[in-house]
Amino acid sequence: MGIVSRAVRNISRRKMRALLVIIALGFALSIMISIPAGVLANQKAANTVSSNLSNVISQTGASINQTLTQIDCSLAPSFSGFGFTPRNSTSGGGYTLGQYGGGGTSGGSGFTPGQFGGGTVGGYFGGGAFSGGRASPMNETLYSDINSNISGIAAVEPILQASEGNNVTRNLDFNGYSRTITTLDVEYTIEGVPLTSYFVGNYPILPTNITAGSNLQVGVSGDVLLSENNSAYFGAGVGDAVTILGQSFTVVGIYSPSSVSDTQTLYMSLSEAQALTNNTGYITSLTVFAQNSGDVSAVASAISALHPELTVTTAQSRESALSTEESTYTTELANANASDSQTNSTAIEEIVVVVLATSLIVLFVMLYTVKERTKEIGTLKAIGFSNSTVMSQFMLEGVLLSMIAGVVGIAIGSIAAPTIASLLLPSVGAGSRTAGAVVVSGTTRFGGLAVATLTPELVLLGFGVAILLGTLGSLYPAWRAAKIRPAEAMRYE
């Protein structure tokens, strides 16, 4: 009979009590390991959210700078659907907002692969299928006309954009209004851009995210840059030949689109695009860049005065929308960080409470046990047990009890950690609380998901803490036991 087996027997001797204590301790310990799990998950989510938000903020900032000097010019859209309908460019959708906010801000793009624009109603009916769809081609001479007659212009970039696809008739139903419309199911969009060193070098007319091969070079002909979707559609890779509208081109590179609006856009030189789509001498839009942002409205008015038939859009309105977005994201980021730190302080408070509760449970249970067994302890000492043996006997009992509770706690935690963490921490999981809502809305939009999971480190930590608290909680009761006088054995009961 060693002290270990005596400890085991003493625990199993009062089964109901042991069970209650183990369950209580187990719950406390499961909370103790679930909270750090929740904190870690929350931190991970918050990190993802804030890094995504930071990216968005800096991208938005870059967009603001780029668009400040930009003016888009196009003819009013017409509804005549011929073969290669140039795209609406009132939105200037190329490299701006479709990415973050959806069509609402940018007006949506007519024939983007999203089919009906950016997904908001504004984009849908406003800039999208009805009005934005078919911008009329305009004479190329407008380019030199504007360039030479209006001052304050840094550059004028002529662009031809044409989509290939099939006309589809659909019934649209929106808020009780029903209409039948014909739209184009786009297979690919050709964008012809001037491959001159001036534009290629100074303005972002070509995609920058090349995933295979190389970008289009200045002055080349017969080359085409495909998007990843184009590459899949044509079944062609770098160096392969593709046939576009009956003519053969060589794929020099493949790019990864930076926004949803150009996933099906392929790039080639302007002159080849014009020839290919029977638009020689025509373009679909002009992008004018003012020399500085202060000149933009003056330049835009001058263009409108010179060519009243053009629809002229400046970047001012877009800029303010972008600024609003930027400040929204900045606020979200601050909120996310604030809720993260609030979670941490809550977690610390809760862990302190649980640690205290656990130690107190062990302390009182062991004190009660010692008191209840005073006579037994007196007997043991009278028949020759040393103080240290008695002390280690009771220490062992307390530690053993907490170890069993530790296992139970880990078992509970491994099942219930996400629930416990979301109940006890402000922003893990469902995010029903105000502080959490920001992070959670952030998680859906910016890709962080807070689910508390028990790592092996946390399991080990929980077990270690159980042993530590068991030891701490039994220290005083065991010391009390060791101090019991052997004469207590003589006591009547």
Binding site: M1, G2, R6, R9, N10, R13, K375, E376, T379, L380, K381, A382, I383, G384, F385, S386, N387, T389, R485, P486, A487, A489, M490, Y492, E493
Partner: protein, 287 residues
């Protein structure tokens, strides 16, 4: 019960202290308790020598200091003054962290309430004092079984206390007290919680152990019948030994009337021949 002692096939090897040598010496022993601001003397200038192999009963009224004396002898309590020599060792000079060894190796306690650990079986209870003395588990087990056989509990080794009668529990306690072959068995009212039949059995067992094993036994008791079956009776009053009488050792032959010398039987209160009370010492047993 005595049969099992006498006919035990394998006598338990014991370091029997040489008969006649003092195993316990109390010199000018005093013990004073402080209650509030008042000093209450429990023992005052008490001298006593107990020789190896003696069977001593300590009697006396409540508050006479019986329990204090037993506690001091058993190294459970420290004397205020005086010496306690156990087997030649001055226990009163030892620090607490040494005393447990004296209790373990030199003493065997038998309690009125048996004090067995309820979650251990009979054998495990007997093994308890052997723990920490460097014996192997199997040796402990063997020794415990032999001791249980000696007190007449063969076949009951695996029974827990709740499945044993009161008398059987006290036998287990006696076996436990013998575990480390102590110099002295200290019994505190060992028959106090037993019915008359079991009382008799326990007294017989103790007397037999004393006779056959030479175990020194000091027993505190209220029970005159139990006391007179020892060989030496001490009456304690106000912390002093006021009277000493010879007892009738139950198992010793030739028990005779102290008044007329005719033979008497065990449990006779009066001499069958002279009709005098065998112990005319009513004051001895009145408490």
């Amino acid at each position: 019960m005595s049969k099992s002692v006498l006919q035990s096939a394998k006598p338990v090897p014991q370091a029997v202290p040489q008969s006649g040598k003092p195993v316990l010496q109390l010199e000018n022993l005093s013990k004073t308790y402080t209650l509030g601001k008042r000093d209450v003397p429990a023992l005052s200038n008490l001298n006593l020598i107990v020789n190896a192999g003696e069977f001593v009963a300590i009697m006396g009224p409540s508050g006479s200091g019986k329990t204090t004396l037993l506690n001091v002898i058993g190294c459970i309590d420290k004397p205020t003054k005086g010496k306690v020599l156990l087997d030649g060792i001055d226990a009163s000079a030892l620090p607490e962290n040494q005393l447990y060894k004296i209790r373990r190796d030199k003493m065997g306690f038998v309690f009125q309430t048996f004090n067995l650990l309820p979650y251990l079986n009979a054998r495990e209870n007997v093994e308890l004092p052997m723990e920490g003395r460097g014996k192997s588990k199997s040796e402990q087990k063997k020794r415990a079984s032999e001791l249980l056989a000696m007190v007449g509990l063969s076949g009951r080794e695996e029974h827990r206390p709740q499945r044993l009668s009161a008398g059987e529990q006290q036998r287990v306690a006696i076996a436990r007290a013998l575990a480390n072959s102590p110099a002295i068995i200290l019994a505190d009212e060992p028959t106090g919680n037993l019915d008359s039949e079991n009382k008799q059995g326990i007294i017989k067992l103790l007397a037999n152990l004393n006779l056959t094993q030479g175990t020194t036994i000091i027993m505190v008791t209220h029970d005159s019948q139990a006391a007179r079956n020892t060989e030496r009776m001490l009456l304690l009053k106000d912390g002093k030994i006021v009277k000493e009488m010879q007892g009738l050792h139950l198992n010793k032959k030739n028990q005779t009337c102290p008044h007329c010398g005719s033979r008497i039987q065990i449990n006779d209160d009066k001499c069958p021949a002279c009709k005098k009370p065998i112990y005319a010492s009513d004051e001895l047993f009145s408490s």
